[in-house]
Symmetry: C2
């Protein structure tokens, strides 16, 4: 059960896209919380993302509430979309009796339609009335779209003898494909902690965590217009502020692990996904080269359908690596599925290895390691397979 | 019916992958033909591609025969794969009674398996015995893999009163996604003409034709290890040699149109494809920007599944453009499906337009135009949709 000192939550069904489904959520902090944030680098940004970027600037700010809806992305909605965001902030502030500047808005869902503002307005009193310390999980449910499971993570920490918590929730199943370079993200995630933090460090810690987690997952490679990670620290644990010098590295580890946990849940629940594959690239000329190769392999329809078919079709993986536009010597490539060596010196190792690899690929989770034999560059990505179910979901998503 | 003066062809079933299916073809020219060529830029290149690149160098050479097989790509087969190519050349030369240097080899099919050399050797006498002027179509059939239809094109031309022919055949259905920059190609295509040509001009003419045709199609975006276009000109029409100065521009037009014709056939027969979409990008800062945007849209799983669902889901198209990494102002974007304006100033134009757009998208072929409103850069690509059938084909391709 998600729970952090000073935070409450609630969600209601506002009929934003579907009837009788939680689609409007509220996260609320008793005290102003220091918010770190990362956003999509897609040039086409949704109204709530533009609004939040404008208000957070490049640094952290204090906020009290995040109002979030699913079913409608409020993207490509022009100036009216931005006005709707401001109205939502004002309504939330009025009813919570806080300042308009204390509220952040986040949205996910269909692009290009205006939010059903009247229905949201009508749902807000009930939303605020029902706020409770046990209500965070309801928000985790309300933010889901094509997701099939709720995604939450929770870590207890001890800071100088003071107990504290970092926890989070995420949504994301399709349109999952990070663009390069932090700060950025590819889905919605809200992280809450009662730690007291130094704002600059908190932002840097979040960027680091995002860079090694959400930034290294691919479902379909389609970067969204709405991707947002917000991390709220309300300081109610009463610790001495965490900073680069005071316990920073330790808390960064916890934060990164939590983000990784959520990122993995997104890939495992990727649209239509039946497999979660950990792809390690090693021996590249540089980490950047390794990342480029990983992205191309994770985005290759032929590789992803072979995963779905549990087919150790290593030729497709090598061909994908070969078109990544980085230095590569085919004769040095080696590929392992789990601990089975499938390719050595650019050539297959035989039918027995393929048979063993196929056995491993029948599992829900497995690892794949491509060694390029050129240098020390490496990276680890998480991706999923491409199934007929993905096609079904996305050919029908709006209709 | 494909037919060109001085060229003959034949194909037989050599049981390379399947029984009783044409899989070994031979194209033969009575006289040495000037061959222009383009090859994949994938860093992982198949043995026959490496062999041909080595022999053609950067310029044209004279050849007499192309021996081509489907069912096996002879890729990732190491030095033994290269030896097999040389053996094939030698066997072909011996039986045709020409020089080993007169023969080119081309392959397509599964990666990572050695060619069944004995079965090919056993099939070669019958292959050569059956050569005939009417046999070119048999070769067009033998090169198919997951293709469902034969792809040929034919143009009659008149050069200073002398009648001549340019014709061609192609294969390609999956692993179709050109990499940037000529010379290159993304499938197999063999072009034959009885024109007499100046070698340097012929190579340039082919590069130009490939750049605007095969180089602008995307099925799944996976660039192959074996992509090859070979264009043979045997000079038997008896015309004065075509060059930059002598009728070059005119013949280039015909050659490009022929290549475009074949490229379109590949997209229409894309694995699992039910639609062929002409994507025009206009108003980009540069043609290179337009190409980048076109490639991202054509490769987007979400856009392609929306095409399959006949869903005018313009938000996905704008989101794909937004992640292409080029200059873009969301407020200036305009999108048309056929002649229906679906997006203006970055926003939807309403439900009636969507209804009209859906009607157009129900057709097998339709056009889509994204205007970026920034400059004069433009490009036209052809792509197809992503259906559950694509997944089925590729989850099972090897098994």
């Amino acid at each position: 059960m998600l729970s952090v000192k000073g935070f409450s939550g609630n969600a209601v069904a506002a009929a934003i896209k579907h009837r009788d489904r939680l689609d409007l959520g509220l996260l609320y902090s008793e005290r102003p919380a220091t918010v770190a944030a990362t956003f999509t680098r897609n040039k086409v940004k949704a109204a709530p993302v533009m609004d939040a970027i404008g208000r957070l600037g490049s640094g952290t700010e204090q906020f009290r509430a995040i109002l979030v809806n699913s079913g409608n992305a409020n993207a490509c909605t022009g100036s009216r979309g931005l006005e709707d965001v401001r109205d939502l902030r004002r309504w939330g502030a009025d009813i919570l009796n806080i300042g308009e500047a204390d509220v952040l808005i986040s949205s996910t869902g269909v692009i290009g339609e205006r939010l059903p503002m009247e229905r949201i307005k009508a749902a807000m009193p009930g939303l605020v009335d029902g706020l409770s310390a046990n209500g965070l999980e309801l928000v985790a449910e309300a933010i889901l779209t094509t997701d099939t499971v709720k995604k939450t993570a929770f870590r207890r920490i001890n800071v100088d003898g003071i107990p504290a918590v970092i926890c989070g929730m995420a949504k994301g199943s399709g349109m999952i494909g990070p663009n390069m370079g932090p700060p950025q993200a590819t889905m919605l995630a809200f992280i809450m902690t009662d730690l007291k933090v130094v704002p600059d460090w908190w932002q840097k810690a979040l960027e680091k965590a995002v860079a090694v987690s959400f930034n290294r997952i691919v479902v379909d490679g389609d970067t969204s217009t709405n991707d947002t990670v917000l991390a709220m620290a309300n300081g109610m644990a009463g610790n001495d502020p965490i900073s680069e010098r005071h316990l920073g590295p330790e808390i960064e580890k916890t934060l990164s692990a939590l983000a990784m946990d959520l990122a993995r849940q997104i890939v495992r629940d990727g649209e239509g996904a039946t497999k979660c594959i950990g792809l390690n690239i090693t021996g590249a000329r540089s980490d950047a080269d390794a990342e480029r190769v990983a992205r191309v392999i994770c985005g290759s329809p032929l590789v992803k359908t072979a995963f779905f078919g549990e087919d150790p079709n290593w030729g497709r993986i090598l061909a994908a690596a070969g078109r990544a536009g980085v230095e590569l010597d085919p004769g040095r490539l080696a590929l392992r599925v789990g601990d089975v060596e499938l390719v050595r010196n650019g050539q297959g190792t035989g039918t027995e290895a393929e048979w063993l690899a196929r056995k491993i690929m029948e599992k829900r989770d497995f690892d794949l390691t491509l060694d390029m034999g050129l240098g020390k560059g490496s990276i680890r990505f998480l991706t999923c397979d491409l199934s007929d179910e993905y096609v079904r979901i996305n050919a029908d998503y709006r209709t």
